[in-house]
Amino acid sequence: MLPVASLLILVPLIFAVVTFFTKTKDQAAGLAFLGSVVTLGLTLYAYLNFDSSTATMQFFDSIEWIPLLGANYSVGIDGISMPLILLNAIVIPFLILYSWKEDREAPNRFYGLILTMQAAVIGVFVALDFLVFYIFWELTLIPLFFMVNIWGGEKRAHASYKFFIYTHVASLIMLLGIFGLFYASWQQTGVPTFDIRELVAQFQFFESGLLRDAIFLSIIFGFLAKLPTFPFHSWLPDAYTEAPTAGSVLFILLKIGGYGLFRISLPMLSNTGNPKFMITMLGLLGAFSIVYGALVALRQKDLKRMIAYSSLSHMGYVLLGSAGLVALSISGAMFQQFSHGLIMSILFMSAGVIQSNTGTRIINNLGGLAKTMPKLTVVMMLGFMASLGLPGLTGFIAEFLVLAFSYANLPGFVLLALLTIVITAGYHLWAMQRAMFGVYNEKLGDVRDINPLQVFSMGVIALLVLYFGLNPSPVLNMMITNSEAIASLASLATALGV
């Protein structure tokens, strides 16, 4: 058996380093593509050898690192992390193909950063030690910062700093929570350890309810700001919009906030001093993000900014499903992360093509693009339909699971989210109608359609959206196995008091 978990970090990282030293664009893109394909191969290997019927850690690997602090380099993959690794491994090669024909400065750094990002994100997903987890968590900041700051749009400096400092502060507060957890458990057991599962298990034995609440809140704050959710989202529209297309897609693939919820926060939730309050808070934030994101998306003039806000709205489902706290609503939240990654990749790629081929992203300046960009229109239409939740596509399954199964615990918030579906459908269709259909805007002149590489890369992702929409079980099964484990970890029903 290959040590896949470690290789999934190492391979992209090594390819990234080599890519930094390439001279031409074709070399850089080719090498990066090779690296991402090898990573995809490894991921498929892991996926095929993966046992969906158990919630235990697979491909587990551990090396002693700092015995003094009880920190080990330990990695492993389970049903929470496998789909997200799969998502990253699938999208990155197509992202590289998509951007192959674009002209840009310093392509070696551009592609090197994409691979670094991949390594860092996968690192977060496989880490089973808080110190390793935090290191990769922080490492994800650096490629994204450079991505926005070097190749971003007009206000890139502002956007990149805002993103960097905003989420860095959130991570530091999370770090304080980790310290609290570490020392409280050290005091409890007399042995220092940074093992995530051990610390999460120790959490319930801390005597002070205040301490447990403080730890829980400071850790979840890091996750919520990264997710992001209302009201910690203000970095999102700027960063997503100013980033180059590849950067926006990397942001979309950065599913570490939601992952943290499932891995760390939810198992702790029922043991906090006041679980009912925490659940209400999370549900409220989730529902609010759904409504707020949709309403703000409705009035956006810029297509990319609209997509950014719709992303905020979708991430609300992750939070709402988590707060629902039954196995299937949590699975829905996990599936939303997976589905959202695929759908939003298509949407951002579409917006990127429109920007580069027509020179504008302002929806009202477009119009009738279906005439000159038929291929794009087909793919983009599928993406928009998936995003608004059309049955048969992945978005529907995720949102259906979240709404149907969170209802038991959080009926009010679910109703709020249900009402928003109308708005969601509205802004998607309205934007599509104004930009792609209707009378062709002659001011745009002669517009090229997407190139064959882009057809291929966006088409494959679109087909995957369709495939997983019709047959979600390849990833949903393992999610359900793990959500059941999370839901049964403590007697949640009693904690809920419902």
């Binding site: 690192w65 290191i135 700093y161 960097f164 530091l172």
Partner: protein, 481 residues
């Protein structure tokens, strides 16, 4: 007869300094380059000898010199800094007529710091402190034609002289109350100090005296001007080395000798630490001279290390001691990188010659000097505490110890400061990588690249494999408790 083997590192450093001073007289400026290599060799030998005596615990010369884990750890810090500075100075002193003076001063300063680390007696401590101080006064003003260098040296000297006086005054009060200058004996007679109001006066004077070297606000006034005006290699020695001398002295004096007065000085250090880190970071944000910015960031870092005096748990002291070594590599390396840029600007005559370390000089450095830009990025990210670097590990241990001790508010202040610092570090990175270069690619001279790579290796080694360093730091912390 004392076993002089324990003092072998000091003897080697002193002998190398004297030999360089002596043979330099007979050499022409062109052959004097050899002296740099000689100094490097001497420091390297001392470094190896120091690691040999790890784990011994003994006192020498009627208890005035103490060889223990704490002293050896700090000697390692000083020698590491001295090594980096000596290597980088080979280029700085190229074709200079004063090479031998420069190196012997560097070595004597190092010697002073090393003796301070071992001092177990106030008189020895003071003498060694002065040895290191005088050598660095002269080094700060080494560029005699450069008014900024002279201004920095003058300020450093005047403030330094006053603070030495304060320190001596404090020592005299301690002696007056207890009748001894031995740190061990003072600790035994601590009740005499604790009951006497003179004890409080002594604490205030000693904090002022050491605070000057540690550059804690409000005793920091000299630091920005001196760090900016001095030759960059000397700034590296001052910020990375001589500052730590203040810390090791303060560790011994406050935690061992004056342990009975803990409530008094702990309160003082609480205020100093918080004010220093906040002031340093806030002021650093608006700096346009990189060396000045590094100077203020150095204040902030001193504020973090001073947290060890506030929290006072074994974990905190381990963190503080570990931090001094990490800071030596990060800050030492950053100043050497600045030295390389200053060298580039002055030899190319392209940028602002008045302020060669201006932020604008760093424009497009990623293209002009890729190695310097990359390593500088690592240094500033390490200073900001981004993993996987030494700075992250150091902050990790130190800040977490505050949480352990229940001082969450202090950890929160430190963490917020750390986040703020990212702003000005990231700006430097932006200048190096995102702005277009103003000039062609430059070949970096070997001494600079060697020194920079050495520091980078230190920063990364401590970040990726911190276990042995933490172990040493923990041994050192045990001496204090």
């Amino acid at each position: 007869m004392e076993n002089l083997m324990f003092l072998a590192p000091e003897i080697v450093v002193a002998a190398t300094g004297l030999i360089i001073l002596l043979i330099g007289i007979f050499m022409s400026p062109r052959t004097k380059n050899v002296l740099g290599y000689l100094a490097t060799l001497g420091v390297l030998a001392a470094l190896v000898l120091t690691t040999q005596s790890f784990g011994t615990e003994t006192t020498m010369f009627s208890g005035t010199v103490s060889i223990d884990a704490l002293s050896q750890f700090f000697k390692l810090v000083f020698l590491a800094v001295s090594l980096i500075v000596s290597v980088a100075s080979i280029k700085y002193n190229e074709n200079s007529d004063h090479t031998e003076e420069f190196y012997s001063l560097v070595l004597f300063a190092t010697l002073g710091m090393m003796v301070v680390a071992s001092s177990n007696d106030f008189i020895l401590l003071f003498c060694a402190f002065e040895l290191a101080s005088f050598a660095t006064y002269a080094l700060a003003g080494f560029e005699k034609q450069n008014p900024r260098s002279l201004e920095g040296a003058m300020k450093y000297f005047v403030v330094g002289a006053v603070s030495s006086a304060l320190m001596l005054f404090g020592i005299s009060f301690v002696y007056g109350a207890t009748g001894t200058t031995s740190i061990t004996m003072i600790a035994e007679n601590a009740s005499l100090l604790a009951e006497n109001p003179i004890g409080l006066v002594a604490v205030v004077l000693l904090i002022a005296g050491f605070g000057f070297k540690m550059a804690l606000v409000p005793f920091h006034m000299w630091a920005p001007d001196t760090y900016q005006g001095s030759p960059s290699v000397v700034s590296s020695l001052l910020a990375a080395g001589s500052k730590k001398m203040g810390f090791v002295a303060a560790f011994r004096v406050f935690l061992i000798a004056l342990a009975a007065l803990q409530p008094d000085w702990q309160l003082a250090f609480t205020i100093l630490a918080v004010v220093t880190m906040t002031f340093g970071n806030v002021v650093a944000v608006s700096q346009t001279s990189v060396k000045r910015m590094l100077a203020y960031s150095s204040l902030a870092q001193a504020g973090y290390i001073a947290m060890a005096f506030v929290v006072m748990t074994p974990m905190a002291l381990t963190g503080g001691i570990f931090y001094t070594l990490a800071h030596a590599f990060m800050k030492g390396g950053a100043f050497i990188a600045a030295a390389a840029v200053v060298w580039m600007i002055t030899t190319q005559r392209t940028g602002d010659l008045e302020v060669p370390d201006h932020l604008d000089s760093f424009r497009g450095l990623g293209k002009r000097m890729p190695l310097v830009a990359l390593c500088m990025t690592i240094f500033v990210f390490a200073l900001a505490g981004i993993p996987p670097t030494a700075g992250f590990m150091a902050k990790f241990v130190l800040f977490s110890s505050a949480i352990q001790a229940g001082m969450t508010w202090l950890a929160v202040i430190a963490v917020l400061n750390s986040a703020l610092s990212l702003f000005y570090y990231a700006r430097l990175v932006r200048y190096m990588y995102f702005l277009p270069p103003e000039g062609k690619k430059i070949n970096l001279p070997f001494p600079y690249s060697a020194a920079i790579l050495l520091s980078t290796a230190g920063v990364l080694a401590m970040g990726l494999w911190p276990e042995p360093f933490l172990q040493w730091a923990m041994e050192a912390a045990k001496v204090l408790i």
